[in-house]
Amino acid sequence: MTADRARALPRSREVGIDIAVIIPVSERCDDVHALYDAYRKALQSAGYSYEFTYVLDGYFPEVLEALEQLQARGEPLRVIKLARGFGEATALTAGFQNSSGDTILTLPAYYQVEPSEISKLLSAARDHDMAIGRRFPRTDSRLNRLQTRLFNWGLNTITGSSFHDLGCSARAFKRQITEDIPLYGDQHRFLPVLASRQGYRIKEIDVAQSPKDKFTRFYRPGVYPRRLLDALTVFFLVKFTKKPLRFFGLIGTATFAIGGFILLYMVAQRVFFDMALADRPALLLSSLLVVLGVQIFALGLLGELVIFTHAKDIKEYTIEEIIN
């Protein structure tokens, strides 16, 4: 991660900040001034001290200009500009590292939730470790809702969690969580899943959807398989981090067994019923399965080796407190 220009405020002004507001800016970005004012008003009326951090994930000259105007107005905000687009999780991480405040509030750079609703999140984050927004009731198109529902259903099924709206970027949580859970790629969506695995208490809060979030969204076709891969990665992180051979071994052994069974069957036919082996394509199939099975098993072994030799880096526990 290279933040090539971090326009930071003087350190002295950070003292006593309650809430670090992190706003990652990527392709989808609405009117900066209006949204900033709406967010600021909501935070001010709730009586928090706050500091905004905008992270530009790529080259967005208009947004940068608008933010510079806000800074010139004397608003408490800092801008971090990444050298190129690294993905939202990386942008968020850059924001976490370059901000202060024990509570972190991430907000979308576009109209997704009603800004007045964020105080609900912040008050819930006091009693829980993390409060995540759920756009409810939904007012956007049926197709959007179907996409959301399918995505969350699929993810809940593979990870065994029960979240309704992981696509909602409005979340408030303790800074501790960002230190325990490193994020990369597109994993920011799954932060609640990973955090709840680590034992953090998470609360879903219904927030009103912004009326400007209504238009129907289609993503580029490449986005859908990427989401699926992300979900699989999280599944591995959650279930098999420390036991690769349990997983790979199972698949490998099954593949090997199927191939071996077909092979034995054909050898038996050759020996007892005198059916020629040489002209049977099934011979190729069974050998292919056997070879594949051994390869998968070998991959599992390599995985175990990686875990074994690096086990000191991966803690299996999270400590809440130490007395004495």
């Binding site: 680590q198 349990r246 190729l284 072994l301 074994f308 991966i314 130490i322």
Partner: protein, 317 residues
Amino acid sequence: MDLSIVVPLYNERGNVNPLYSGIVDAVAPLGIDYEILFIDDGSTDTTFANACALAAEDHRLRVIRFRRNCGQTAAMAAGIDHARGTIVLTMDGDLQNDPADIPEFLKKINEGYDIVVGWRYNRQDKLVTRKIPSRIANWLIGKVTGIPIKDNGCSLKAFRAKVIKAIPLYSEMHRFIPAMTSLAGARLIEIKVRHHARKHGVSKYGLSRIYKVLLDLLVTKTIVSFAARPLLWFSVLALPAVVTSIVALFISIYGPLATSSTFSVPIAGVGVLFGALTVILLLGGVLGELVYKTGDTRLDKLSFLTAERLQPRAKTQ
């Protein structure tokens, strides 16, 4: 500091106080500098509050609280990571181990052993669900690893701190610590310990863990014998593939030449497939060597930690 006593606790509120006073009664007369580490593994009862009340009175008692239930191995690993003593002693939090045995363990470490393992020779548990499965498991672990320890499941163990801190502890590996360290050249001794029936609380074990133990045993055995020389191990895996490949290729070429039968595509295909498997396995072995060399858990390094390098062996008194 001389001694760190690590005790994982999970819903043991009735046992915290008697356990603490038992340990203090056993260790205080020895006149050594010691600490007690209680690890609260995400208890849902008052275990943590009870332990904190004790810790407020005694600065030698440290309490570590987990955010959620992470399992016994993780609790032990946390205790070992935070231990400051030159000797680490682990024991169960359910009072089935007797703290009065602790001095005997220290004596053995001072005699020069790296690991002292307890053997519950008159075990006070249910026969069918606890003792018989455990006996089978111990026999199997002994056979597979070649280290005949009578009681791998006994938590009462003492380690030289530098040895145990170099051992990777994850999943349910705590059961195989003796086998792993022994293979790395540590000197190990097994001594008889007292064992009491449970007074407070309920047992957290059942028959369901047998499957996991078997799988972990397989992994441990494989890893321990394979970790230090992955290339060799993968070569052994590749041997049948090489043989199959050569035989199949020979048949497919020799057939048409000698007997003027037609060239068999499937058989030649089998030969090529297994040839490819051989190459991939060998490359995988090279990759394994790379992983091992860059990793920080090295069994060969570990063996230098033990004071004198003797042949690995297990003894029973």
